[in-house]
């Protein structure tokens, strides 16, 4: 007969995550405040081939979408697997966090997180090669995200040298 009174109000899917944008202009407190009021979501783990239209259709299920900004490779200016979805109301964004986050788009589990708001420049990947940081050193082969990580061959070589070094 465990009655967790705190758990009764739980709405954990809507909670702000641990991630903080390192490029955010302002302090942690300001960023957190914006995240708690935000109508904008960051969406990650998209396939490079996922279109704006698909994102619209999926995210419209939790409310009217105001705009979508597809994340681009800084060098190639092509989609690099993330986007921002902005709603007209916070409620609609919350429902996306509850019911779209962690579901599939183009057969991939996508991840959504609160965003402090789109600013020009934030639509570009921050990895050295132009895409997202996570694709720089990724070891696995992901055909929907450009195959191997950009620098994974480098790390693999270092790994072999280190291994050989042990002998």
């Amino acid at each position: 007969m465990s009655i967790k009174l705190n758990a009764l109000f739980s709405d954990s899917y809507v909670d702000v995550s641990q991630y903080r944008d390192q490029h955010f202009k302002g302090n942690r407190y300001e960023q957190e405040k914006l995240l708690k009021q935000a109508n904008t979501l960051y969406v990650g783990n998209l396939s490079f081939y996922t279109t704006e239209e698909q994102v619209y259709e999926l995210f419209s299920k939790s409310g009217d979408v105001k705009r979508i900004i597809i994340g681009l490779d800084k060098v190639k200016k092509t989609a690099c697997g993330f986007c921002f979805v902005e709603y007209y109301t916070r409620t609609d964004a919350e429902n996306a966090m509850r019911f779209v986050n962690g579901t599939r788009l183009d057969d991939r589990i996508i991840r959504t997180d609160w965003d402090a708001g789109f600013k020009e420049g934030r639509q570009y990947g921050r990895g050295k090669s132009g895409g997202q940081v996570r694709d720089e050193y990724r070891q696995d082969y992901d055909p929907a995200r450009g195959g191997y990580g950009k620098d994974s061959i480098g790390w693999q070589v270092i790994g072999i040298v280190a291994f050989k070094g042990n002998f």
């Binding site: 007969m1 009655i3 009174l5 009764l8 109000f9 739980s10 709405d11 954990s12 899917y13 809507v14 279109t51 704006e52 239209e53 698909q54 619209y56 259709e57 999926l58 299920k61 939790s62 009217d64 705009r67 979508i68 900004i69 597809i70 429902n95 509850r98 019911f99 779209v100 579901t103 599939r104 788009l105 183009d106 057969d107």
Partner: protein, 718 residues
Amino acid sequence: SQTVYGPSPHHPARLLPEKLTVYTTLVGLLNARNYNFGGEFVEAMIRQLKETLKANLYTEALYLVRFLCDLVNCHVIAAPSMVAMFENFVSVTQEEDVPQVRSDWFVYVVLSSLPWVGKELYEKKDVEMDRLLNQIDGYLKRRLKTHVPMLQVWTAEKPHPQEEYLDCLWAQIQKLKKDRWQERHILRPYIAFDSVLCEALQHNLPPFTPPAHMPDCQYPMPRVIFRMFDYTDAPEGPVMPGSHSVERFVIEDNLHNIIKSHWKERKTCAAQLLSYPGKNKIPLNYHIVEVIFGELFQLPCPPHIDVMYTTLLIELCKLQPGSLPQVLAQATEMMYMRLDTMNTTCIDRLLNWFSHHLNQLSFTQLFILFNKPKPKFVKEVLEKCMRLSYHQRIVDIVPPTFSALIPADPIFFYKYQDEANSALPGYAVAITVGNAIKNRASNEEILTVLKDVPNPNQEDDDDEGEGFNPLKIEVFLQTLLHLAAKSFSHSFSALAKFHEILKVLTDCDEGKLHILRVVYEVWRNHPQMISVLVDKLIRTQIVDCAAVANWLFSPNMAHEFTRFYVWEILHSTIRKMNKHVQKIQKELEEAKDKLERQQHKKVGSRSNSEDEDGQLEEQIERLQEKVESAQSEQKNLFLVIFQRFIMMLTEHLVRCETGSVDFSTPWYKNCIERLQQIFLMHHVTIQQYMGTLENLLFTAELDHHILAVYQQFCALQL
């Protein structure tokens, strides 16, 4: 103990009603130790009951009453005083000139508590209880059931009748009574503590008079009980309780409550549903699936947002991969087979759910559609699936024999595409405009270019060129949208950049209608694009909502009238209108509040604050005008829609009568149910217009088939 069990809005019993008997047992044990505590607790609950009823919180009130009833089982409250409260509730059925939904609720409260406390009350006061039930019986026999057809998911009686909720509950209580109030499903922890509890002193409920009816009372709407399974559907394992067994009522009530408590957290919700106490004695998966679809298809609206149910079902499948997906597939096949008699609004929801579900499971369940395929439904599902993926994917997964059902490739149709079209009027200007746009010409420059477009509507010697020129609109918009066809963002940018020009070209109603026609012409293979463009055109005030309604009902769109996306657009348009009105109303309220606060603060007036007041008063006046204008536009939108429906339906009925043909065609079913859908989906707003609707549109002269829809709608709140 007051802090935990006191009358706070977070009272545990209100939050987890499915665990009600646990809390009542606790209260019973505390009362046995401390009589005063019991007394204070009951008093607090009665106070809260009064407040919730005043505040139109009927679901809360229902569970408060049920809690009090179970306190009878726990020897906290004396049975005769509970019977007296029930007698007061049922006496509401004798009131005159009150909405039927008022007396319905009080009857429902009494009947729905009997599974918990019927036995105890009958043991102590059987004569009074029999009298009570007779009164209820009489009431149920004479109450009106006009509303029922509007709320049924299926129109057919077979295989499972869709019963009115009070009728179903009455049948269940009758059966319970016949079984001498033996109810074995509800967990009753207090039985284990009977030796302690029976020593307790009981309290009498104070006399409770239901608050009188007020004009602003909003009682719950009537319902129809959704049934899709019976004992024949669960082949192995425990048997499903019959539709008129009280177990069925209690199980469904508990499952609905679990969803209500945990809907925001889908994994928890799924886990809670699957760990339902007593699950080994019932085919739980079938109950869960039935309850979930019952909510999804509930009319007028589901209790929670549609997409929640999709993700909840996926979580349930993950937790029970060996059994739940099969039950879900069985349910889906069954609903697919019975599409012909399913309410159109429910078909919309089924379509949305199934296409999203298929997408989540990578289309492994697609085969269901191709077993005795229903072409229209399959096409719409595939189109929705395409929106979530892409055209080639659909081509790849559809069996070759059914390739005719694959949605069209969502390409752009440009009228002035190549030199083969050079004979078309306006072709040359289209090329020039296209180049001008590509070379970043200014709006003035482009308007100058467009001056060369002849106006097919004008006399040759009228050279003002200011009137409505459909060709000018066509040339400009086709070219602009062609250049921006790459993505939604490109098209939105284009509309924003050339907003001025579009406003100039569509200054009149005909212009607005024509712009919508052009959008359809170019994007007729891409309904999703049409949808988002219309949305933007409304939001940027290039077209108004009434124009969209008129366009959708126009003869040009008659061939698309039964397409799903047309109704998506119409309902989205109505919702935008409603939200717009609400937004300005809110601004007005906020300005009024601000003025009030400012005036309160004034101590010894200074001229500055008078200026501020003046500014604010002016702002309030402006907002007041804005609100009135918006409300008028909103009312006009609904009148346009209703008028169009009436015209279309009347025409059809007259034509069929003169031709001695059966009027009940698939088109008619779709059209009349779409009319119903307008009422159901926007009932809150439409309530304001009842007078106008009755006097202007839904008069006695109207064909009774059309009038019936209006009358059923009225019955929802009477």
